[in-house]
Subunit: 381 residues, 2 copies
Amino acid sequence: AEWSTQRMRDAAVDFPVAVVLPAGGSGERMGLPTPKQFCSILNRPLISYTVQAFERLSWIGTIVVVVPKENHDLMLDIVQKFNHTKVTVVNGGSTRHRSIFNGLQVFSNITDSLMPKPKVIIIHDAVRPFVEEDLLLKITLAAKEQGASGAIRPLVSTVIATTSENFLDHSLERTKYRASEMPQGFLYDIIFQAYQQCSEFDFEFGTECLHLALQYCGTNAKLIDGPPTLWKVTYKRDLAAAEAIIKETLSMSVCIIPGAEAEVVELAKTLEINLNTMEMDVIPYAKQSYMDCLLKTRNFIHVSMSGSTSSWINEVVKTLEEADHARLYPLVIIWVQLNITKQSAESNKMDDLIGLATEVLQRNVLLYGIQIDLSKRVASE
Amino acid sequence: AEWSTQRMRDAAVDFPVAVVLPAGGSGERMGLPTPKQFCSILNRPLISYTVQAFERLSWIGTIVVVVPKENHDLMLDIVQKFNHTKVTVVNGGSTRHRSIFNGLQVFSNITDSLMPKPKVIIIHDAVRPFVEEDLLLKITLAAKEQGASGAIRPLVSTVIATTSENFLDHSLERTKYRASEMPQGFLYDIIFQAYQQCSEFDFEFGTECLHLALQYCGTNAKLIDGPPTLWKVTYKRDLAAAEAIIKETLSMSVCIIPGAEAEVVELAKTLEINLNTMEMDVIPYAKQSYMDCLLKTRNFIHVSMSGSTSSWINEVVKTLEEADHARLYPLVIIWVQLNITKQSAESNKMDDLIGLATEVLQRNVLLYGIQIDLSKRVASE
Ligand SMILES: [Mg+2]
Ligand SMILES: [Mg+2]
């Protein structure tokens, strides 16, 4: 999947793509004083996760976050605190459609903006943080080709039509209908034209962008099945669900960095083949840049025969700190030395490691050391 | 709300009510090996919470749990372990409708059962544990009156009709439609007749009981707005959400038991008026039975002037243990002594309390003591 995503990306997104992220909801439905997009999960506001989901993708340009006027400064603080670099904050309107239109105008000549007009615009919700590159690529390419595209999900409940007195009128056949979700993609010219032409009634009571593209531009959107993680964080309980997903994601990947010795390189290969429950990268221990791999996970295992370690760990920690990678969540580094001998056990290497662990702990890095005496393993083969 | 529920209950449910709880789902959608209804939250399977939501209501009779044959023994174990007293376990069929029909047949003459036929049957899902008495009463009374009733919720997403090539055909006007949820209620005779008459196609592909009552008995169900907590535990993330709700529920209520002194009775009244964030009961410190209040919460505050405590705490712990109330979650008892004097501080009462705390801790009771010297408070008024 990783390779096909890479190919799709390289082959196809050779045009500018921007994002509009309406973030105007109130906290009412959650029973919370804070609007849900600004609620914190593991010390980071929900909207920052959503922004990050887009910002990490090189083929995505500007991310326009549309917030109520009273949250403008709060959003600017978030952008600064979490080092978001692609975000433009815009004030919203009184309805969802007005807010999205405000966001789109950033790229139009009307506002005299310097932003280049994107070919494709992605519209998403601030409260759907778990959107994956794979789906964003599909949405973007379908929008480029068809003019409009949107993520869908199967209906969870039967949908029923009610009479005015709240009696059952009829139930819909579930298989013929879908829930319309986010993200949606549009040729910028199409969705901008739809908003320019739509009525006050649409602005006031409509919510569905796909509907506007159909009604005003005759564009039938291409519908693309999305994963269940597209769900909208709506209720207070959804914050707990989102936190569970984030925690699981954090613990689900590991980067193995074997030393130069043939034996540990072999061991790393074996691990890569046999450990299927975690996403795993094995990267060679060398001076060349492996930043991309390092930033994909927070869990690192360094395996070596010799046990020379301090300089390597210091280098990795420094690299990760420069990328601000340990600010939000702890990094875990496990250092494994395989051929511990009586001599090396007596050396003060473990003391060095303990000292180092104490030092990096203050920078949110959890460092563990394991020494294994391979000479005592039972001979096999 | 509590009072009106009490009135509704006393006035109206003077007829037998039973429950059918289909519990046949697999774990597929959750990405879990265990079917979700048997997944544990805080050491208790989800289905046991759902059963408990019905079992605690005096006006609810038999609860028929319909499980796949392979889960029959597991379900019997749960019934025994968690002391469920109203449950009958029945094997399910190959579809949801077949399973519900199997459940209904427990009360029919066909199976020669000894169970009395209920007037109203409530059908619910095993994976919707947070159903409240208030809604169950409304569903039951509407079913008695109209023949059928069902809980509904507003649509969270726009519902769209798709073409066969997965393009947008049209979107439904959200305000005219609702999501059909559980619980649903029926006159037993109506839903049983509907199942007896319905087709193999219905049994195989249908899911909506309200639809059967309409199609085969001409009964238009009364629809009743339910709270957001009616949602169905569907995905793995929903388990985290359910756990969060349960934890919050556990910490949201407190029972205050003042000693006999006028001063603490007054204090308890003040607390009751001013502490609005928690549900609070104040019950008089007396020998009479206050089991109902004790079992509504897990958090107790005993306030007294004198500080005589051991025998009272022992009695409460004993009462709660007899009701098996501390098995699943810890109970918290905070004992507050208000008029600590030099003399009483020097007595060994606190030592007694510490000894007692150590002892009850083994029985899952967390006991804390607070001594306050009221003589040193700043005079006010
Ligand atoms: Mg989002
Ligand atoms: Mg349930």
